[in-house]
Symmetry: C2
C-alpha cells in the first residue's frame, strides 16, 4: 500500500454521519439546515513551527483537528465537517495509524465528518479546514465587546506554553505538573459545547491561540474599547504565582481556551451554561471605555507587560 489513493482509503475514509457525499469524488456535498449559516476556519500545523519534531503522532492527529474546532467554538458555531490536507516526508504506516487514530478520536468525540482533503509527499505539515453551522445571526464576533462587559476565560491559562518550555528544557517543572502541561500542549480540549451555547448571553468571543494579551487585543481593537485585567483572578497553576512567571499566562500560546465578554446581568446564565457543559469559566476583568489594556495586581497597581504573543513568522 503506497499510493495516495490507498492511503486515503485505508486511513482516512471513515463512516460519515451528516454528509450527503464524502471522500471519493472531486468534492464533497453537505446540506446546511434551514435558518442556519455556514461558519468556516482553516489552520495549519507545521513541524518545528507549530509542533516539535517527534511529537506523538496520535496527539498530533488530535490537535490538528482540535485547534480548528476551537475556532468554530469561538464563533458560537457547531462544527460538523472537516477537510485534511497532509504532506509527509515518507509513508510510515505506524505514523499514519497513530495520526489518523488521534484525528478520528477527536472527530468522533465532537461529531465531525472528515469529508475530503489531499495527501502528498513533502515536509511534514497538516492543513485542516473546518466547517460548521450556526443559527442565523447567532455569531460571536470579536468586534462586539461592550463597555462594562465582564471578561471571562475558560479553564486555566499558561499550561501549554509551560509544557513547550519544559520540552525545550527552558523550564523545570515538578513531574506531575510537567505531565499535565505537556498533555495540555499536545491534546488540547476545544470548548465546543460551551461555545455553541454562549451566543445568547455574550457580546464577543475569541479563542486563546496566540496568548491572552495578543488575543484580547484583537477583541479590543475590533471593538474599539479597552480593558482592565486582574492578574490574580486569571486561573493558573500555583507554580506561576510562586515563581512569578506570569509570561506563560499572559503571552503563552496554544491554550485554546475561550475568552469572551458579556454583560454583568448575564453572570448567572453563563455560570449555568458553564456548569451544564462541564467547563470552568471565570471572570478576569472588565471592558473599559479607555482604549488601552491595564493589568492590575492585588494591590491595584498596574503591572508592566509585553504585548507580544506567538507570531508564526517571528
Amino acid at each position: 500500500m503506497t499510493s495516495e489513493f490507498e492511503i486515503i482509503e485505508y486511513y482516512f475514509k471513515k463512516k460519515i454521519k451528516h454528509t450527503v457525499l464524502g471522500i471519493g469524488d472531486d468534492g464533497a456535498i453537505v446540506n446546511i439546515q434551514k435558518n442556519h449559516q455556514l461558519v468556516i476556519s482553516s489552520d495549519m500545523l507545521i513541524e518545528n513551527i507549530h509542533f516539535l519534531k517527534n511529537t506523538n503522532p496520535f496527539h498530533l492527529g488530535w490537535k490538528s483537528l482540535a485547534v480548528n474546532l476551537s475556532d468554530i467554538a469561538a464563533m458560537g458555531g457547531k462544527p460538523k465537517w472537516a477537510t485534511l490536507s497532509i504532506s509527509l516526508p515518507k509513508i510510515s504506516h505506524l505514523w499514519l495509524r497513530k495520526f489518523s487514530g488521534g484525528f478520528f478520536k477527536c472527530a468522533n468525540q465532537f461529531g465531525i465528518d472528515l469529508i475530503g482533503g489531499d495527501t502528498s509527499r513533502g515536509p511534514l505539515s497538516i492543513s485542516v479546514t473546518i466547517m460548521g453551522e450556526i443559527k442565523n445571526n447567532h455569531t460571536l464576533l470579536r468586534s462586539n465587546a461592550k463597555i462594562n462587559d465582564d471578561i471571562w476565560i475558560t479553564g486555566q491559562l499558561g499550561l501549554a506554553s509551560m509544557g513547550l518550555a519544559s520540552l525545550q528544557r527552558k523550564l523545570k517543572l515538578p513531574p506531575l505538573l510537567k505531565t499535565k502541561c505537556i498533555n495540555t500542549l499536545e491534546v488540547p480540549t476545544p470548548r465546543v459545547s460551551l461555545g455553541s451555547h454562549l451566543s445568547r448571553y455574550t457580546n464577543s468571543c475569541i479563542d486563546i491561540s496566540d496568548g491572552l494579551i495578543q488575543d484580547l487585543n484583537h477583541i479590543l481593537k475590533a471593538s474599539k474599547v479597552g480593558a482592565v485585567l486582574m492578574l490574580n483572578d486569571i486561573p493558573c497553576e500555583k507554580f506561576i504565582h510562586t515563581s512569578k512567571q506570569y509570561q506563560f499566562v499572559l503571552n503563552g500560546g496554544d491554550d485554546y481556551e475561550l475568552l469572551f465578554t458579556a454583560p454583568k446581568k448575564n453572570r448567572s446564565y453563563i455560570k449555568k451554561i458553564a456548569k451544564k457543559t462541564n467547563t470552568a469559566a471565570n471572570i478576569i476583568g472588565i471592558i473599559t471605555h479607555k482604549k488601552d489594556l491595564k493589568i492590575l495586581n492585588t494591590q491595584g497597581k498596574s503591572v508592566p507587560f509585553h504585548i507580544m504573543g506567538f507570531d508564526h513568522f517571528a
Copy 2:
C-alpha cells in the same frame, strides 16, 4: 511589515462580494441559497512535488486557486468561497505581491471570495479549500457513467505534462509550442462555466489532474463499467501524433480538463453549452459493459498502455 497579521491584512484581505463575514475573526460566515447544497474540495501544492522551485509566483497564485476551481467544476457546482493556508521559508514582499496578484486575478475572474486561511513560516506549501453551491441533486458524480454513454473531453490533453518535461529538459519542443505548454502547466483554465451547466445532460464527470487513463479509471471503477477510447480522436498537438509520444496525452497530469460521459441523445445540447461557454468539447470514446479499458488506433487495433498516472507519493 513582518507579522502574520500584517501580511494577511496587506496581501490577502480583499473586498468580498457574497460573504457575510470575511477575514478577521476566528471564522468566516456565509449563507447558502435555498434549495442548494454546499460542495467542498481541498488541494495542496508543495514545492518540488507539485511545482518546480522558482516557479513564477504570479502563476503559482493563479494555479493554486485554479486547480481547486476545477474540482468544483467537475462536481457541477458554482465555486464561491476559498480559504488559503500558506507556509513560506521567509517573508519576501516581491514574492507575496506576485503570488497574491495571481491568486486574486483568478479569484476575480471566477467570482471567488477569499474568506480565511493561515500563514506561517515553513517550507513553501499552499493549501486551498474551495467551497461552492450546487442545486439540490444536480451533482456530477464519478459513479454514474452509463453503458453506451459518449465519453467527452474538454480542450486538449498533454500540454501541461509536455511543459513540465520541457522545463525538466526531458523533452525538446519547438519554441512556440514550448511557450504554450508551459503556460498551460502554470496557468491552467478551470472549466468552471461549462461544469456548472453540464449536470442536466451528463451522467458522470471528473477533472483530469492525474492523467486521462488514471482519472477515467476512477469513473470506470466507481461506475462499474468499462470504456473504449479512440486514440486519434483525443484532442492534442500534432507534435504528439508525429512523435508518437502518446504518454503525454494518456498519462500526463495537470491538464485540468473535464472528462464527462453523457447519453448520445444529448450531443446537440452539450455542443450548444460548449459553444455558449466558449469551451472546446469532443467525443473520444464510449462507455462499455465490459469492465476494462481499451484504446484503439485508426486501424481499430488495441494499443498497449500503462495505467500509471501521477502519484504524489511516487
